[in-house]
Symmetry: C2
Subunit: 340 residues, 2 copies
């Protein structure tokens, strides 16, 4: 299976390392052999080698600052744009892991569209592309007879979408609700241990859980994007991101946390999706609630179903290797279905 | 897809009701049409109708006490044994839901063996057949090119095996541990609320969670059977049931529960499986542990993996509809793979 990577940041590098580390196991146990035929970044170079690039050399090159330092070899082409690779590259699956753009989903949407039109399957972790492009992209994928898979976009590699879309097929899901942003859950957990919001945020930044500008996390936008993706995956709906009811945690005070604790409750930032609506807001949950006990950067989703009642999945929601595994699990599904 | 049911107790009836209720949805959304061609019980009659039996009439008949009251019709045959149906019945999938025999797994093992030899796929909820027969039955299934699926045998329809075997494929699982017996978890939860063991057991019996003879549940044997099944599913091992280290909850006192609570801990009956060993015993878990907060008759399993760390699935562990869904989800997998 030949793949082309658009984007080579933390997630793309995690994927390359994973493929390299698991190569023998994937080949032996599942008959899957993944070759990276292309890697394109916005500002750190682009490589295309139809016979396959060397994952370790890719990692060495990007760590030096640019893919331009990848060793020359016969047949290697440099500098092709993501769009050119999506259209003309000779590989089976385009993997879109460029930085998520929550304003309009571009340029990822155009690149994915081009790849599907060119007969490639697409696997992505890019939330923005799905938030704004799911409906049209999924139609293009169906028309092209290709797969559009995005397990890694919600709860990283924890198989939350696969659970809702496949393992529970036959059940009707009426609602999904969950803790889908690890940064805010880490901050709320720290505040539960007595820290102020500012101190908890600083600690999250120190540990790399929160970015220097934490807005997308703490104001609920990352969770809202995941709610839109869940709505698409579970209900085939494309909720309007800019019309969603979204409230983050930045207004919660130590006093709010203490009041909840005194009442036997905990604050959690909950994304909630039904066939009718999607929303994000902090909620007080009784400590006996399954989601109330999900602590630190861990994520969890509860599906309410007709036949099975509530089913909850708890696991990692971020991380290079964890998100890389989400991409790999989509490749394995394509492998099972198509034999590539 | 034509199926033959061996056993028609609570689970078999739950399955028949589910198939009837979901018929239009399964056909419309997944292209799956399930026909019950045969039902065989040990002492309440046996019916075989290659063109399909009527699920509602089956339920009416069994509720009257015997399948002998099912209406006569042209082509209907009565009184065939489970073994005869497994060998000679004209259907695609044998569904084994007869009472589980934890002494030696018979007669289910022989019936399943015959069905596989006769070219049928097999779906089962019967724990005894797997505890004693997994290794030989899975070899027979591979040789026959047929599927042997048993999602319903652990956590009913909550997709615990599908999570470990499929959704996490690509990860290496090093350990599974969980609360896989709802009866004991209900009793322990009640004891946590102040009841004595005897009162909690009586309450469980009153609500139908515990049988009149509760030995298999409270002494840990049901959980041990599920541990063996997890070992088979995850690690391809057939642990010797009669040599397992198994301890139940009948020796736990109100004092034990109170001591744990005072230390911020809770007792849970934990089944634990690694590639090397399987065991069941009550354990004190800190209340921050994901499994410590699984209460009542709910079940949960945590898989420890190389790439994703710990992943926990929480859901129903019993019930007619819930177990019926486990069987249905296996049929859907066969449908996806074979197009039947």
């Amino acid at each position: 299976m030949k793949v082309g990577l658009i984007g080579f940041g933390v997630v793309g590098q995690g994927f390359a390392a994973l493929i390299s580390q698991k190569a023998a196991d994937l080949s032996h146990r599942y008959g899957l052999e993944v070759q990276i035929a292309a890697v394109a970044t916005r500002s750190r170079g682009s490589l295309y080698m139809p016979d396959g690039l060397n994952p370790e050399s890719l990692l060495t090159a990007i760590k030096s600052g640019s893919l331009d330092t990848y060793p020359d070899q016969a047949g290697l082409r440099r500098g092709l744009s993501p769009l050119a690779l999506a259209s003309e590259g000779n590989f089976d699956v385009l993997i879109e892991v460029s930085p998520s753009n929550l304003k309009d989903g571009q340029p990822a949407i155009s690149v994915i569209e081009a790849a599907l039109h060119a007969g490639k399957h697409v696997v992505l972790a890019n939330k923005g592309a799905l938030v704004y492009g799911y409906e049209s992209l999924s139609k293009t994928a169906v028309a092209a007879g290709k797969r559009l898979l995005f397990e890694a976009s919600v709860m990283a590699g924890t198989p939350s979408l696969r659970l809702g879309m496949q393992s529970l097929a036959g059940c009707a899901i009426s609602e999904a609700r969950g803790i889908v942003n690890g940064t805010t859950n880490f901050i709320l957990t720290q505040m539960g241990d007595g820290l102020s919001y500012a101190d908890a945020l600083a600690e999250a930044q120190r540990l790399g859980y929160a970015e220097t500008d934490p807005t997308a996390d703490v104001e609920g936008w990352d969770a809202a994007a995941k709610a839109v993706i869940l709505g698409a995956a579970l209900f085939g709906r494309q909720f309007a991101f800019d019309q969603m009811q979204v409230k983050g945690i930045s207004q919660l005070t130590a006093q709010d946390i203490a009041s909840a604790a005194a009442a036997g409750e905990r604050w959690k930032l909950i994304a909630r999706v039904t066939p009718e609506a999607a929303a994000v807001e902090p909620m007080r949950l009784p400590i006996t609630h399954p989601l109330a006990n999900v602590s630190g950067a861990t994520n969890a989703i509860t599906y309410t179903t007709d036949l099975m009642g509530d089913i909850t999945l708890v696991g990692a929601g971020a991380g290079a290797v964890q998100t890389g595994f989400g991409l790999l699990s989509d490749l394995m599904e394509i492998h099972r279905e198509t034999g590539i």
